[in-house]
């Protein structure tokens, strides 16, 4: 296990290095940030000064070298716009995105899993057909449209939920989050549901497919021959088996929730990472874009590792590579 983690860690460093190279060189092909930062009517030497200040007058490889040496000491550069370290800015926004992603994931699993298992146990039932119909809707309705519809219905017409923002936060166990206040939860409800919708449908389909497959197995039949109740069979025999693929997919999907909540965050003006990076892209705030992309890469590397470890815990047949027998 230790050997496995170590090896994956070293692989991750290589991946991060290559990604930084790609990201850095690609972003330097796009536009000129100085045009965005300086009043176009400024004098040419004023513009030159700004360019020099940001180090943009130097060749790309020099800029990259500076970035790399900085990155190794934990400094991914300062935002052009805010003049503050990119990492600090991201760290400020990260909790908002994280709580949104966690809520969305909880919603997706608590709704998707039972419905999917139910549909899988009674594949020909009316309920199952209805559920699967819903899942098709969930997968095909565009998130942004649904988000807007939710705002119109629940905020504008019914006035139940606030339109946008994060709401009040409170500190619990040293974590500041809007999950711990009623106002915060009200603000969370719509964006989290909106973000979760696609995942609910996905978890549902996975759970149904897994249930169909596992229930046809001999060991389920043998469990029934032992005289076990259906409830016990579902809990002790079905669940542990369908959870293996679901954990794998949900783990990676958690990454996409964090990394690509951008659309939902924009619609609900949620002050998270997604909004930060959209603004950074518009303003050609290169350090933030680079830092964000590297963060996303690192996030997926870590999630993959965690998923692999959970996988090995759930499935005794799996041995992690590098493990000694």
């Amino acid at each position: 296990m230790f050997a496995f983690v170590l090896r994956r860690g070293m692989q991750s460093v290589v991946v991060l290095f290559v990604m930084s190279l790609i990201v850095f060189s690609m972003i330097n092909l796009v536009g000129d940030p100085v045009d965005m930062l300086v009043n176009p009517e400024s004098l040419p030497d004023e513009i030159e000064r700004v360019r020099r200040d940001f180090g943009l007058d130097q060749p790309v490889y020099v800029q990259y070298w500076k970035f790399l040496t900085g990155a190794l000491s934990g400094d991914l550069g300062n935002s052009f716009v805010f003049g503050r370290p990119a990492l600090t800015l991201m760290a400020e926004r990260f909790p908002a995105t994280l709580e949104l992603a966690i809520c969305a994931l909880i919603i997706a699993v608590t709704i998707g899993l039972p419905l999917g298992v139910y549909a899988g146990l009674r594949p020909d039932g009316l309920g199952a057909r209805f559920i699967m119909g819903l899942s098709v809707l969930g997968i095909s309705i565009p998130t942004f449209w649904l988000g807007l519809m939710m705002i119109i219905v629940f905020s504008v017409i019914l006035g139940w939920l606030p339109v946008s923002g994060r709401g009040e936060t409170a500190v619990f166990l040293g974590i500041e989050s809007s999950m711990f206040t009623l106002d915060g939860l009200k603000h969370l409800a719509m964006p989290a549901t909106n973000l979760a919708l696609f995942k609910i449908a996905m978890v549902m389909r996975l759970a149904r497919a897994g249930t169909n497959e596992v229930m046809a197995q001999d060991f389920i039949r043998f469990a029934r021959a032992k005289g076990l109740s259906s409830r016990r069979i579902v809990r002790a025999h079905l669940m542990p088996n369908i959870l293996i693929p679901i954990v794998t997919v949900v783990g990676i999907e958690f990454g996409t929730l964090i990394a690509f909540a951008t659309v939902t965050e924009s619609i609900f003006a949620w002050p998270g990472l997604g909004k930060l990076v959209i603004d950074a892209i518009v303003n050609l705030d290169r350090p933030i874009v680079v830092a964000y992309l590297l963060f996303v890469v690192a996030l997926f590397l870590v999630l993959n590792l965690v998923v692999d470890i959970i996988y090995a815990v759930l499935d005794p047949r799996v041995r992690l590579q590098g493990d000694e027998e």
């Binding site: 060991f219 039949r221 032992k226 016990r232 047949r317």
Partner: protein, 325 residues
């Protein structure tokens, strides 16, 4: 024998709906099993013997259904049982062992847990007490160092060991009847004969009756007191094992015996019965075996009844062999 019967199956019919019309897997089967008796059921693949076993456990998977007949077990008609009543019988009074030991056990649950739950499903017993019983049962079926094995997962066992676990599990509640569906087919020959011997001994000790389903007459000859031969969902002949093997009355039984490798001359080609099983959804009007039968005549176009030729013997044929015997 009639006063002592444990199981009496009368006119049992199990059908699977198909687009081509109902597929009759079990077709009006009558069977009796006395306490402590070993009944062999022989037939080729697709003859309905597995579905017969599943029907007697109430485990025919949808869309299959028992459409006619009664299953009298210790005086109660099981076909009228609710699912809850079935659960009380399954594993407690009738246990089942399946063909493929590699798939009968849940791959992600420990062996011990899978055995203990079979006990706990039927009696209020503490985990420790259940564990002690499981350990004893493992020793009885010849599993060495059972304490460590309790914590192992199925994939750490050989096929023979897994089947021993399955058999030990089936015997845990000291059932009145075990339905063994080709339990040794997937094993190699030496393991097969060991398990055969062990099962016979264990069932003798506890007075458990066995229905041993197999396509292998040789195996059945070793274990069964009586044999029923199935063809295309019907019983075509039944009688005491020795008599049936020595002087078969039905041409199909004779064909099966002739095609046993042990009965072939050295250097001679192994014999087989020409042709194949008829489609179960489209059976011939008369005797289902007639198209393959060397003795077939015009009289075979009317389905013969299963007729007793002596107290212990019955055959379904218009011109049975060995009339003199």
């Amino acid at each position: 024998m009639t006063g002592n019967k444990l199981l009496s199956i009368q006119g049992l019919t199990t059908e699977f709906p198909t687009p081509q019309g109902p597929l009759v897997a079990v077709n009006g089967v009558d069977l009796e099993v006395a306490r402590g008796e070993v009944l062999g059921i022989v037939g080729e693949s697709g003859s309905g013997k597995t579905v017969l076993g599943l029907s007697a456990m109430g485990l025919v998977g949808l869309p299959g259904k028992v459409t006619a007949g009664r299953i009298l077990f210790d005086g109660q008609d099981l076909t009228r049982h609710t699912e809850a009543q079935w659960q009380a019988i399954r594993g407690k009074r009738i246990a089942m062992v399946f063909q493929d030991p590699t798939t009968s056990l849940n791959p992600v649950q420990r062996i011990g847990a899978q055995m203990i739950e079979a006990l706990q499903a039927h009696r209020d017993i503490s985990k420790d007490a259940a564990k002690r019983m499981v350990l004893e049962a493992m020793v009885r079926v010849g599993i060495n160092s059972p304490k460590e094995r309790l914590l192992a997962y199925p994939h750490q066992f050989s096929g023979g060991m897994r089947q021993r676990v399955v058999i030990a599990t089936a015997l845990l509640n000291e059932p009145d009847l075990i339905i063994a569906d080709e339990p040794t087919t997937a094993l190699d020959v030496t393991v097969q004969s060991q398990i055969l011997r062990d099962v016979r001994r264990l069932c003798q000790d506890t007075g458990t009756a066995i229905i041993w389903v197999s396509h292998d007459l040789g195996v059945v000859a070793q274990i069964a007191h009586r044999v029923a031969v199935m063809y295309a969902g019907r019983i075509v002949e039944q009688g005491m094992t020795n008599r049936l093997l020595k002087t078969p009355s039905h041409p199909y039984t004779a064909g099966l015996i002739a095609s046993m490798p042990a009965n072939a001359e050295r250097g001679e080609r192994l014999r087989s019965i020409p042709g194949g099983l008829p489609q179960l959804s489209n059976l011939p009007v008369g005797c289902a075996f007639a198209p393959r039968c060397p003795q077939a005549s015009a009289a075979c176009e009317v389905l013969p009844e299963l007729t007793s030729t002596s107290a212990e013997h019955a055959v379904r044929c218009v011109s049975p062999l060995n009339e003199a015997a």
